[in-house]
Symmetry: C2
Amino acid sequence: MFKTTVLPTPKFTKTVVQDNRTDGYWIETFWVDPNDKVPGLIGYGLATGDICIFDNPINGGPKATDGAGWRKITVKTFNSPVAVVTADCAGNCRKDIIACYDYGPSYLNCNQSGGNISWLENPGRQGPNGEVPGDWKMRYIGRWPAMHRLKAGYFTQKSILEVIAMPVVHGPQDIETPVPVILFQKPEKSLDAIEWTRSIVDDEHFSIIHDGVVKRFDGQNGRDSLFIASREGINWLYWENQEWKIEHINDGMPKEAGKDYYGSACVDVGKTIDDPAAYIATIDPFHGTTVTFLTKDKTGPVSSKWIRNVADVYGDPDQLKLTGTGPGHYVVTGDFDGDGVDECLVALFGPAPYEGVYYYKPIDLEKGVFAKWKVADEPAGRIAIGDFSGDGKLDFATIVYNVPLYYEGANPKIYLYSNDFCAAAYTPEPQVVSTVWGGEPLFYLPRPTEIKTPTTIPLMELAGYRIELEILPPNWKLTTLTADPIKVLFGALYDGSIVRRALNVPQYEKSDARLTGGPIETKKEGVIFLRFISTMDPSERNWKEAKDVPVKSLLEFSYQQLQLPAPLKFTRVDELAWGGGFPGVEFYNMSGIDFRFLDKTELVHVQFWTAAKDVNCGVHDHDDKIFLEVHLCLSEGTGNGGMWRVKPGVVVDPDHPNDVDPKDFITLPLAAGEQHGGMWDRDTYDKPMYRENGTPDYPWHKWQAGNTAESIDVWTAFEFNPKLDY
Amino acid sequence: MFKTTVLPTPKFTKTVVQDNRTDGYWIETFWVDPNDKVPGLIGYGLATGDICIFDNPINGGPKATDGAGWRKITVKTFNSPVAVVTADCAGNCRKDIIACYDYGPSYLNCNQSGGNISWLENPGRQGPNGEVPGDWKMRYIGRWPAMHRLKAGYFTQKSILEVIAMPVVHGPQDIETPVPVILFQKPEKSLDAIEWTRSIVDDEHFSIIHDGVVKRFDGQNGRDSLFIASREGINWLYWENQEWKIEHINDGMPKEAGKDYYGSACVDVGKTIDDPAAYIATIDPFHGTTVTFLTKDKTGPVSSKWIRNVADVYGDPDQLKLTGTGPGHYVVTGDFDGDGVDECLVALFGPAPYEGVYYYKPIDLEKGVFAKWKVADEPAGRIAIGDFSGDGKLDFATIVYNVPLYYEGANPKIYLYSNDFCAAAYTPEPQVVSTVWGGEPLFYLPRPTEIKTPTTIPLMELAGYRIELEILPPNWKLTTLTADPIKVLFGALYDGSIVRRALNVPQYEKSDARLTGGPIETKKEGVIFLRFISTMDPSERNWKEAKDVPVKSLLEFSYQQLQLPAPLKFTRVDELAWGGGFPGVEFYNMSGIDFRFLDKTELVHVQFWTAAKDVNCGVHDHDDKIFLEVHLCLSEGTGNGGMWRVKPGVVVDPDHPNDVDPKDFITLPLAAGEQHGGMWDRDTYDKPMYRENGTPDYPWHKWQAGNTAESIDVWTAFEFNPKLDY
């Protein structure tokens, strides 16, 4: 079931979103309207300063005539805008754009009075064809010189929008003073407010903050947290017990004498199915050269340290001097191949050959091993991710980095790279898991209500039946089932007028376990059941001895290293630890299969039995076992074998229960495909009644083989968990 | 390389250590003398009170005549001894025995003045045949009523022995008051001391402590820590910042109204190769029924919560009422199958069928999935583990539980179960790991000094050679090598009188890379090298075009899901991104293979090239690359091709370096199997000299194909990392 398949080579098809630009810096995923089918983009350059949205043509409306039809709307022109972040500031459920600007020519020569932050109100799709007007209304939030990155979230509480603003440096010509990380909180009257209230997250620890990323973890009570990439490496900031906590993750690039740039510059966090922060991807240091993956080395029950794995060092000799000239400018994680594990994209702005986008996939995080592919050749300064194609797969878009006087990439454009290789987006659905359990297979099953698609698990061929486990989700219809016996283990299966449940055959009665052959369906509970698919004419089921009964395992364990310690076979019970009371008796057992739910709750244990003509399988009342047992006959080889129970009122000597006279039994012969209702006593709610020692209260009973034919009986016993609500 | 193989079925051979006992409670691994080959055992019963050691017959000396020859020595007889722990109290490097006794008839009726703790001085092997005398000298440590478990270690510091003593209850008829967990510290004059100094670890949190386990983790600065199993479930106690910290791991069995027993009773911690506390095995509650495995569910970058996975519920109906009657009494973890991952043994004392020892192996800890086998049928109250057979594999020993008036197991004996299925004990040795890296294979290699056995990795068949990577550990000899070319990548290979290193061919010179065919050896540095095993007569290496050169990958990735995105092949360089300067030139590249160390440090990047007659492969000086390049010729198809370098003093126009007149070059033709010394300039220590831009200083040079034959040249380029000390 957990087969290894070769990973597809990641492939993305390039189209042009915007063909002619004079510069390029930022690209961001942007939902113009929350009801849009797909997201659009925000893109702009530092020099031109036109904050533009690019309306995704898949959302309809007029298309642009150039490129792939993405319509450009200029929403505001700023002097040197650096970062944007999108969040609903107006309170109308649409994303507005928050921007910082008035940066100045460079961070060393930043505008001492600049670093303004304002929000631009998204007017929504107002035109007859859903056009969005330009020139959005602007309102002020606050400022600090050299403002460089904005992050929106709910950091100190989970009710009111907050924006964390990070200047790259403290001010002009000052790369040493720790910068203020400022939290702005959205005011109630955001449309009228003069500015937003602010507080300092930290102004003691971080210098040259290049970027950060917001992540929300289960352990944080719904609050967001922030990873910062700065000269101090990677630090994780989160609010707890009414204060900001800083967890130092890694130093990043070690400090070298005489070099201004060390630590880290870019950061994102990669998740796996089991770990929301399985690895951290970085580029080190500022406008860096070095792609690293931080992975965890466990040091104790609840502790681990982060190991820095250098993946690649990119750059020409000048860049390798670490003077802040590139080429690495952005990392972002996302599940592009749909396996539930985040890959990582790294943007290189150039020069060649250090340009394009590399795709890294974690292969073995315990060893810090990744695989790498190049997925875009055009130089990229930044990456936006989203399902821009609307096909459920994660795409990405890039902008060529062109900041005049710093690094001027040729032919600045905006590109879309559409995911061409992912089979389907990840949809977590619990899977059946099987293991070895003391000589038996043990299956952990999802509850039917947890799945959306049916599952079939072959178990074995036995006595001319192919036995399969089937799980059907709620409200499912099947028309292909034949008139074979089935046994519901959990939930309910509707077969025309009959509702079949695990334990709904009345006490002392029997019922035909065969389907009618017509359509079946499930309702809100779904169903787990065994199918006994007949592969043999009933007349051929005339085995004289247990060893003649065909048995073949169809088991495939979830883990390829597992196998049963011995093959499935019938064993005469006098060879079993408990079978001393049956010396020489032709009474055989094959145990068995255990079924539990994925949360480890016991569902049912199944065993198989045979008995020859006239064999008494032992009168008992299950006073040593806590289970609800029912039987399904697979072959009535002895003609009239089945369940015998002692008549009410007959006194049974518990030390010699087999002394009861045959005439003192009530018989219930079972033919192939027939099951009986469990014999335990029930209360008026049909729930089991228990003895003082906690065992369900059964009458004395046994399987008694018949005496009208010469072959052997074969039957199945189901031992259900009384604590479960079937 | 990481092939899935089916797990062996765990098998242990039973022998009897002690045949006839009247009761049984404790068993413990005990090294009689630190120089013994194998450990022995301590065993005793609560009622008889004879603390006995069982001397392992493998250590020599007189053997007992019964059973497997384990000689019994009674070291002290106590009234109701409960626990022992072994540690060096006398200061002579031998393990002494610390015991608690005077328990009383039961914990409810415990001796209010009892719970004494003393240590018994191990006299060592004094007899002529190594016999150990009995009746050991006893010295007092301290006491508390109902003293029940002792743990030795270094808990609050790492210099002086400490013993943590845990009473099961606070005193007679009192199961509610939290018990004092007491730390005793060994006095300097332990032979003369009246008692040991004591302190309270905790007397607020724990009731009905049944057991605990000591673990030392890397994160604890050499200090031990303690897991306690009590009604409060599993708690981890450790000393940090001069105080005891308690980390609550799990509640264990939930509290039910009217029941005295809940929480946990037994605990051990399982490690994997990557996690020292990957899972916690428990039996819940006191004299319990329920085996659980606690596994981690990650909730954030540095946080996880423990998930309680119920593995099995054992017990007859009375035991399932949770009144403290069993059958589960002990869990212990250990790596029995030698894969570096701990399995877990669970002891069940009975009654049948709830008796024996079950072996659980973690299969998928992220899902909480284990596999289970039964490995001992005899009832077991407690388990001792160790390599009692002296074969390097982990064995275990058990004692039948027989405590009069509580639970009296039949035929109390001590059994040894010898490991019969483990191939070899786990010896961690770093393995080569390979992944895909942007179209190339990337190999992470152990340093030769990290390995003890040689490794050979097939890479490819190319140009009539089979190319293999070989790593030899230090001080290794090989006599089987033929006279094929090799290229040392790291370390040194001694071939008779020649020492071959990665970069030790002198500048501008050439050298024969072929071995002499005699024995080779490594010294203290070991070696990593490529072998070019000739599979073709040199006369057949006469390809007219690059496409004729045979190329076949022999790569097997460490991870079965990986494959190269495209097959290995030669590509004409004018089809490559950088090859625009070679339009139509019969000059081909096949890139390549990257080799790094497991710590991710770059070792060398290897490429392959071909050129046809008269082809100028381009004059260059590597001013854009930081590597140390050398070449090894595989076929001199053009007759006299090889390295040409511009004569000293000739002025080269950096914009037109190919304009240099052929007569201004110094030529160094290379025949198949010849390599040249890297052309970069070196200082007087033979270290590379660098240009201002950080690149090694090379003269202008090129590969120039020859003009005396009509086939093509094939050669290999090695790009070494200048920062590495080869």
